[in-house]
């Protein structure tokens, strides 16, 4: 059939690629490359890495944020990379790890959500989305052994439970729900300390935004791979919220004054 050459007949775009077009999957087939088998080449030092991303719950849903730097060994590979994306109307995804596979997996995940919606005429439950992402991360395990690690944070508004929810993952595709907050990437530990210290249940949106930025500033302060708000070039972290009204980008006009205040506090 010129319309569609494959034979897969389900509602998942990810399974469709696996079944009929495996060459389009983001996962690298590294076991065929002899340099990796012998450990001669270490990818971690030669590909851009996306670093700190975090998410925390507040009264109306979830705030998710990420810094803008990609690092390549000891070099800054990009100052403007984005690591936080809208997945569908009620969920967001952020990634840390090897930038290339991360971005490709986000794109695949976005298409997966949309494809399922169009084929089935309904959207997946938030748990269903979180599980699907776990299966994708699991597929990346062989590449993760070679250093191409991909670690997402997935968050969304559960319309059934009427609350924001956060999921974290490990390289094997393990999926765990976090009830308060989570941060990952090279500055993740530092960001988590800040979040742990100042997190309160049912915070206001403003308090949650300020805390997310503070955690990123603290991460950038210690971790060389993470950039804080760049006041000179005007580059600020990407922040989004998910509530019962859907996904909203937090505008730069709102982030700029918050960032300036935090930086001023560092000068102290």
């Amino acid at each position: 059939m010129p319309l569609f050459a494959g034979s897969y007949d389900g509602a998942s775009f990810f399974e469709l690629l696996r079944h009929d077009f495996p060459h389009l999957l983001p996962f690298q087939q590294l076991h065929n490359v002899p340099q990796f088998a012998t450990g001669e080449c270490r990818l971690m030092e030669t590909v851009p890495l996306a670093t700190t991303v975090l998410a925390l719950r507040f009264a109306d849903g979830v705030v998710i944020a990420g810094d803008r730097q990609a690092t390549e060994g000891f070099e800054v590979s990009s100052r403007r990379i984005e690591k936080v994306y809208k997945a569908d109307d009620y969920s967001v995804i952020a990634m840390a790890g090897a930038a290339g596979p991360c971005l490709e997996m986000i794109k695949l995940f976005q298409v997966e959500m949309e494809h399922y919606h169009k084929i089935e005429g309904e959207t997946l439950a938030l748990d269903g989305k979180a599980n699907k992402l776990a299966q994708m991360v699991k597929q990346n395990l062989p590449a993760a052994f070679q250093g191409l690690i991909v670690i997402p944070i997935f968050a969304g508004y559960d319309l059934r439970l009427q609350q924001g929810r956060i999921f974290k993952y490990d390289v094997t595709g393990g999926r765990y729900e976090e009830l308060q907050f989570y941060a990952t990437g090279s500055g993740g530990k530092e960001a988590r300390s800040t979040l742990k210290k100042f997190f309160k249940a049912a915070m206001s949106r403003e308090a949650a935004l300020a805390l997310a930025l503070e955690a990123l500033v603290d991460a950038a302060d210690v971790d060389v791979g993470t950039s804080g708000p760049d006041l000179i070039r005007g580059i600020y972290p990407v922040v989004k919220t998910v509530t019962c009204h859907g996904v909203t980008d937090v505008s730069e006009d709102e982030i700029r004054p918050l960032s300036e205040r935090l930086i001023a506090a560092l000068q102290g």
Partner: protein, 236 residues
């Protein structure tokens, strides 16, 4: 050795076409109408879950009449085609023209090769950035593809509905006007108007919408938007 009966290709094609037409004539028609802010697709459909109108991609929608399982398969294949192309190239590269051509080829091949033709007629429509960039393609059971403007009709009562629209369509309709016109044109398809109006399935491609342009009106929304208008018209 038994000699197979000779049947002329003419006869085979005629028989197949007649078979397909009969199947399609059983279903109610669907209209697509261009209005100022987008494109509207309307079908009479008592079922709220078995859809005849569907989203394919950012600006593209699909409508099918005839045998449900057959146009449902075509619909899914179209979504797979579009998503695969958008994923491996870019979202702008998914064009209605190429999708409609792929449909035409597929349906045409089945018509000539398979013993049973598809009993379907489909519409593939796209809302453009400006009204002049709108696209509407009609693909019939034998794969014939036609390019339409302003409005398009498929299904058993297409001729009568088309005549009605030719007389009453005008450009730059508002959404409310387009809904009313579509409703009246579907009613014009009946020889005798039905006692009870059937539920309507309405899909919109709204130019002003951010991202994916397709919006499915719920049956209540559609009924509420249309009823007062058709009543007004009856009073006139």
């Amino acid at each position: 050795m038994a000699v197979p009966f000779y049947v002329s290709p003419d006869q085979i094609m005629q028989d197949k076409a007649e078979y397909a037409r009969k199947g399609i004539a059983k279903g109610r028609s669907i209209v697509a109408v261009e209005y100022a802010e987008g494109l509207l697709l309307m079908a009479e459909n008592p079922s709220a879950s078995l859809n005849k109108i569907s989203e394919i991609y950012d600006r593209i929608a699909f409508a099918g009449v005839g045998k449900y399982s057959e146009f449902e398969n075509l619909r899914k294949a179209g979504i797979r085609y579009a998503d695969l192309k958008g994923y491996s190239y870019s979202r702008q590269d998914v064009t209605t023209k190429s999708l409609a051509n792929a449909y035409s080829e597929t349906i045409g091949t089945i018509f000539t090769r398979d013993p049973k033709p598809l009993e379907v007629e489909i519409l593939v429509v796209e809302v453009g950035e400006t009204p002049s960039q709108n696209e509407m393609y009609h693909v019939s059971f034998d794969g014939t593809i036609t390019d339409r403007r302003q409005f398009a009709v498929i299904g058993g009562q297409a001729d009568r509905i088309r005549t009605y629209l030719q007389e009453h369509y005008r450009t730059d309709l508002s959404l409310a006007e387009a809904l009313a016109l579509s409703r009246r044109s579907l009613l014009a398809g009946y020889e005798r108007p039905p006692v009870e109006e059937s539920a309507l399935e309405v899909g919109l491609l709204e130019r002003g919408r951010v991202g994916r342009k397709f919006y499915r009106m719920t049956q209540t929304e559609a009924a509420r938007a249309i009823r007062p208008l058709t009543m007004d018209h009856e009073h006139l």
